[in-house]
Symmetry: C2
Subunit: 452 residues, 2 copies
Amino acid sequence: MPQRSDDRHRVVVVGAGFGGLFATKSLRKAPVDVTLINSTAYHLFQPLLYQVATGILSEGEIAPPIREILRRQGNVDVRLGTVTGIDATARTVTVEAPGIDYTVGYDTLIVAAGASQSYFGNDGYADHAPGMKSIDDALELRARIFGAFELADLQPDPADAERWLTFVVVGAGPTGVEMAGQIAELAHRNLPGQYRHIDPRRARVILVDALDAVLNTFGDHLSTRALRRLHLLGVEVELETRVVGVDATGIEVETKRGRRRIESMTKMWAAGVAAPPLATRLAEATGAATDRAGRLRVNPDCSLPGHPEIYAVGDMMSLDALPGVAQVAIQSGRYVAGQIKRRLDGREPGPPFKYFDKGSMATISRFSAVASVGRVRVSGFLGWLMWLAVHLLYLVGFKNRVTAVLHWAVSFLGRGRSERVSTFQQAYARTAVREYGNPFDRYTTNRSSDPS
Amino acid sequence: MPQRSDDRHRVVVVGAGFGGLFATKSLRKAPVDVTLINSTAYHLFQPLLYQVATGILSEGEIAPPIREILRRQGNVDVRLGTVTGIDATARTVTVEAPGIDYTVGYDTLIVAAGASQSYFGNDGYADHAPGMKSIDDALELRARIFGAFELADLQPDPADAERWLTFVVVGAGPTGVEMAGQIAELAHRNLPGQYRHIDPRRARVILVDALDAVLNTFGDHLSTRALRRLHLLGVEVELETRVVGVDATGIEVETKRGRRRIESMTKMWAAGVAAPPLATRLAEATGAATDRAGRLRVNPDCSLPGHPEIYAVGDMMSLDALPGVAQVAIQSGRYVAGQIKRRLDGREPGPPFKYFDKGSMATISRFSAVASVGRVRVSGFLGWLMWLAVHLLYLVGFKNRVTAVLHWAVSFLGRGRSERVSTFQQAYARTAVREYGNPFDRYTTNRSSDPS
């Protein structure tokens, strides 16, 4: 164990997502003691959650243990727990872990707790349309998606079978588009021939969005390409369509032409994000302002007004209308680590945080993706190769990710899905929550079901 | 979809474990319609559950979807559900699946529902010491084992840390020995260097058994070898020690010298098996006798007395004191399929079922196993190579198992554990069940928590 001296500068990082993890790594050689607090023991590679939900990857492949990633970094102490309070005067955070609460003091605080799913005030939807933010979400969706085909096969009434074979994805951003594309591939490519009473190819995959384009941040050209590709896959895209109700057996939507009901047992929500409850608590503790999504309005250097010792990065910060993507989190995390090092070195603060847009991409199906890099717009197979290269490069940064590549080979070249398993707990957990109250509340401040 | 004619002989197989799956496969070319009913969508390779629990393998790697295994077998209909009733006169079984009940008629019935964990009448132990029978069990244990190190690291009081670092495995058969060995390897080889406040090497792994030897069915020689190897790994083996109490923070044991308490937050149960509730129901429906473990006493051809059209195979049958191992299930499953084919061909029934003992083996740690094949007793590295060969051969029978081999390489040659992830649901599900009642009851007739 490393020597620690009590007068070293103490940095507390809340959250081990992209922002918190890269901030921590950037402090590797700094004369600081870092405490990295996260509500799970793993870092989560969120952009691949949809592949866990659709049986391509195992949860371990997208969620390396934080301790393993940082095992050679001597100045970091990884601690399990959920930060429930911040005292900006005493400079402490209070943390809850199963069966134990504790307090950690800081000299500098970096909050990087990411974003929660937002149901735009309709949290009751969550029971029927899980979000896409956590491993719990992805495994629950996996249970629901594969379970839907199993249960469709059992229905004597064709209307019931049809309801089980209708999948509705709400939100046509990258996550929603990728989910819809993968479910369509499952239905048309992976599952046919495995059922006696249904034809999986008859499954309907409906992608709903209130806006008038899929992937609307990608620009007209790629948006049109993506839409065409989704149509080719058999995905029904319903744009300018607002969700006004979600229940156990269907979803209510509203368009200019009026209201309509879609019968569907399997709904998923990829529509909105909101800052986690911690953002509200931090705003209360520091007087900081928040934007409409609850994100903290920060100074140009990512610090909170009046609190140069507190930074917010990634999805938690509201700055220059930057999007909630991995690259913003990574770059802002590294940036504040740099600011801290400058301060400790006695140097002037650096220039304001500037986001370098490396581009964005979304896969639609195997061998087909859209990518936007600078002024270059790529789609189809070339886009997919770029997607593959970028994700391979990223995964290589972590150890033992070679099996992920093999699972991709199985799914993209073959017709298999290696990871179709769910537990009873996953399949029925949310029902239990509905019927018995949420026993997990204490541990899930990261989720929209949190009351705050 | 295959043509089915209504006058084909209908075989219903209950359970897709080793017995049911191999019976079904052996009926591939028979002029029968097979309905294979299982409470999960996957076949479970139970002997490797301990590797899922200790982070070596993903759940998908030991649980291939039944539909995928059988996708080329045209005469089988795979159906999800739990058989809750048998009418031996009408020759029907009733099945419960989420939201739907249904009935299936049979001409021949093969029951192969395996065994449940038995707590010898103390079902309350299950809350605190999960068994090792299902994917749910293995993932819950994974959450508890890795969670224990996380929580130990958080305890300010050394006594609390010690309690979190004490692991008790009840039952020194193959499953218990393998679990104890793997937890010791985790503590001594994989996790050191990843924590700031604890040294994982100080973890205690205690293996408890009421008998006077570990692996007592393997004979004196291998039992002694295994014991020595466990000692080398640092496992504390407590023999002739009966468990008389299990609670949230510890376990009470009794030896000749009296009672004693072991403080431990993480207990697991690998001590006993019992026939599932279905065996009782079948006994009531047919008048068949059961043995002490609740298994069905069968004729020498595995059929139930007075019911030549009903067979019990594998862990559900009581015959010649055969052990509850995979090979008995596989061979009896194949045997009854052969009997059915003979009968349909108009041939004489074959000779009584005869078990061919291919031997047994248990790994103790990487590179070390004990194996007993015929008169040959092998231990150490040679035993481990045999273990590896046998398991590779078996896994190769299923598609896409190559990642399992890679995960083995990672764990045995490197120091990594690729699959350490758990969900909140898994970590806290049993607590929820205790506090709110068991919402899963309807779906878990396979588990000891079932009232029957």
